[in-house]
Symmetry: C2
Subunit: 595 residues, 2 copies
Amino acid sequence: MTNILESVNSPTDLKTMNISELNELAQEIRSAIIRKVNAVGGHFGPNLGFVEATIAMHYVFDSPNDKFVFDVSHQCYPHKILTGRKEGFLNPDSYQKFSGYTNPEESEHDQFIVGHTSTSVSLACGLAKARDLRGEKYNVVAVIGDGSLSGGEAYEGLNNGADLNSNFIVIVNDNEMSIAVNQGGLYGNLSELRSTCGEAKCNFFKSLGYNYSYVERGNNLEDLIKVFEHVKDTNEPTVVHLHTLKGKGLKVSEENKEMFHWIMPGTLDDEGNLAHNEQSFEENYYTITNEFLLNKKAQGVPVISITPATPGATGFSQEYRDKMGDNFRDVGIAEEHAVAFASGAAKAGARPVISVLSSFIQRTYDQLSQDLALNNSPAVILVNWGGLSPMDATHVGCFDIPLISNIPNIVYLAPTCKEEYLSMLEWAMSQNDHPVAIRTPFANYVVSGHSDNTNYSILNKYELKHAGSDVAVIAVGDFFELGKSVHGILKSELGIDASLINPKFISGIDNELLESLKENHKIVITLENGVIEGGFGQKIASWYGDSAMRVLNFGGQKVFTDRVPMEKILEENHLKPELIVSDIKKCLDTICSNV
Amino acid sequence: MTNILESVNSPTDLKTMNISELNELAQEIRSAIIRKVNAVGGHFGPNLGFVEATIAMHYVFDSPNDKFVFDVSHQCYPHKILTGRKEGFLNPDSYQKFSGYTNPEESEHDQFIVGHTSTSVSLACGLAKARDLRGEKYNVVAVIGDGSLSGGEAYEGLNNGADLNSNFIVIVNDNEMSIAVNQGGLYGNLSELRSTCGEAKCNFFKSLGYNYSYVERGNNLEDLIKVFEHVKDTNEPTVVHLHTLKGKGLKVSEENKEMFHWIMPGTLDDEGNLAHNEQSFEENYYTITNEFLLNKKAQGVPVISITPATPGATGFSQEYRDKMGDNFRDVGIAEEHAVAFASGAAKAGARPVISVLSSFIQRTYDQLSQDLALNNSPAVILVNWGGLSPMDATHVGCFDIPLISNIPNIVYLAPTCKEEYLSMLEWAMSQNDHPVAIRTPFANYVVSGHSDNTNYSILNKYELKHAGSDVAVIAVGDFFELGKSVHGILKSELGIDASLINPKFISGIDNELLESLKENHKIVITLENGVIEGGFGQKIASWYGDSAMRVLNFGGQKVFTDRVPMEKILEENHLKPELIVSDIKKCLDTICSNV
């Protein structure tokens, strides 16, 4: 079934094929993607919809001399298959060999490591400008999905690309979907362009100064080859608008576009239908958040549940969205807008709650600072997936503590269990004094069984869970469980009755408690699920700087980990109870030998 | 000359005036702005161009019930004058009483503290959504300049505002200028709309789903009142596109729009002409940067000097821009694009150098992380105005160290003098391994007279300027001068021969040097011109956490200071040599009493 694909080791091998062979190749690529992604998980629909376009790109253009930049990489699997990496899709033993994103270390056909959206046009703009300044000649081609067009960076890039007065080709892969349904006024224009076969006079791309071509049959190789040949080597900024079918090739993915944007292993059965997997009804932070917010709505609270285009990733089921109705708002891939919008809504008396992934809250620092914090708007941000993880470098969420906790006015809370989480959320949504971010535990879901009656209006009050001596363990959020383990081993192995502290507040210091520890403690250790630099523990180290207290900070190193197994991350950063205890022991020994 | 203005204490007082009185009022407001701004400095051109529009807004709408959100606040002076704050413009003793930006603490007519661009549409969107959810009725009006439309946040806001299906009015103040000349394809469309009196079929705003009205005479009160009355209380997203004259009312500001965007005191003489101020030819970091980059260009280096719409603020004179030609690129108010563009250009062999203000580098964290750092693109970023300052809260630049130095892969350098700065810049532009940011000294311009031959490829190597004992002073960048003073007083007053260290690298640790200090030092102090939290000093404190070394971190507290006099900032943060020495002495005393 991979007769033709077998013969393709680089894009050059396509050049001599006829249309019928190219079509056969498309089917083989499609089958390989379906098989592999169903086996190990990954982006499904966007890749299936872009098979023909990728083949046509490689048929017409001359990569790597011509440069392709794929936005967010959600559609780069066909490109990987055609550029020497088919093994990663055909051989089950090699399924994990290549990342799910473009990466120049894998291939000269990849220009950038990309995993966040809306960046391709600006990156490509840089390539084109450098080319022109150096007097070189090649085509620069940015690929961007319709969904990614909602992000401000994409727009900034389009606006600037139009000024290049040079070869600059933007392929808009319009599959009528973001990860979920598209949001915003732009999509009315894309719809009008589709329904008029690109003839509508009012045209977003033309308004930004682009030449424009429309391809209705965006999965038809002949049409695609024709349009690419038409725009190749031109010297003006050009948009090629392709109407493609997300999930093409499988009925179930064509009909369930959001569900099949990214799938878990085993989503399909052997016949290519939806497998009857046991649906999970387990309670988790998403389910209790949804229940909480639905209750607020029922009570008449003007809550606005906001997602920046990732409703599925933060557990907003279709049922939840429907029930929330006007109280639910997907703003598209537009985190900057999400934060400013929430600030505005909070000022006008609504109760906005943004749910976002740690890796994506990065996309909106200035809005957190200026629109939100400086204005002290009582909006709430739930930061999910925050912590060290074995994910791709583009999605690791271990930088949110330095990012958020060093902005004035924002109260950043770290619950250790369900009860604290709900209590914090209740407080955050009922007060009017602070922007509040809550770091949803990532490493574990703990139900303590004890209700939390903390008054969070008293800022920066840490909880002394156990008063001991010699060593104090300050364990943040989902690393509190790790702290408990350390506490236990210190007792059982070293006979040390350590103090155990749940700080709850990541963004501030409990002066009183820290002062009190000086009396009968020699060492304070901090544990946080994120990078150490700029984070919580370093504030504690600085606070004790003028004292005799020793402070050991535990967390991750300042590096982009890329698919590093969790076990290795924990090992290397000494984030296992026995390693931490060993470090404590070493430090204690130094103190003793000094005295 | 302020006969009519005298009678205006709130917008209500306008409502009964006739057109002739309103016109007279406009002239009086214009005169007040010219007089005051020329006396104390401030935004000039954008305010003069928006006098009539502001009067018409207050005449037609009913603020504060109807809500106005002014983008970036560059055009808010007429609004301040009409809403109870005219004293700040008429009475020289009160010229400093109100900030140059909107601020709800000053007036119920201001919705937000705003000083960064491109935020008004999103903030207003939040107001409108909250209004609708709460079942309230009022007009929400966002004002945004044509220049601010180049920023991604503005676009994200427009895209989302179109979906509100509710009252939402965006007034586009098109004065054909950003701070400098507009950049990007959008401006071709605005130009076409102006030349067709809004009739062009291809319309950026309509493509995003807005109703659209155009006013050619954007400084004509009758036309303005008519259009605002037309859109008031409508229930669809609407753009009102006003063609206004930046700097209107004074020949010299109408003809020199960029120069008169913001002026220094005494720019005009008594006749309203350009005063013949002595032009400064003093060397500073801007002049040496320009000379350096022009030399690079002359040598055939494919340098790209990039500014995100603030060429004047970072010293790019018109002469420099002209000489750089294609090697100069103003990307508009689009910091996200600037960074991604630079990353792309660096990857393709150009030498991009972004010059940006500390407060605005905040607008692009994710691009620094993903587009630049993760890809290890050797682009260069010059961070200007970084440090504690008496500026408005919206422009204080003391957060860049936590922001940049906690991102992996970026080398953040802090020169202490001209020679180091040039040496660092030379290295940064000749290497291919790292993104490099350089923090241009803000507090002072020092010429050491000694050439700097450091090999910056050896990362994180601090310079031990003087090897002493007991106390080590690590003084970052422009605070090195402060460190020298501390060093001197320690010697003269306490007889301590302290070590003095210039770390040069803000983003990393010199393990070897820090280890060596343990031998004969008891205290390490760190000095940095920025907030302490998440910054350089806390890394040092954390590093020494397991040792007996005492570490004192000096810098600013984590707060938004708002026009706080520098003297007070230095005093409160113990950033004066004698206060620092006193803190060191206290700490030394504690150590002695403990032993």
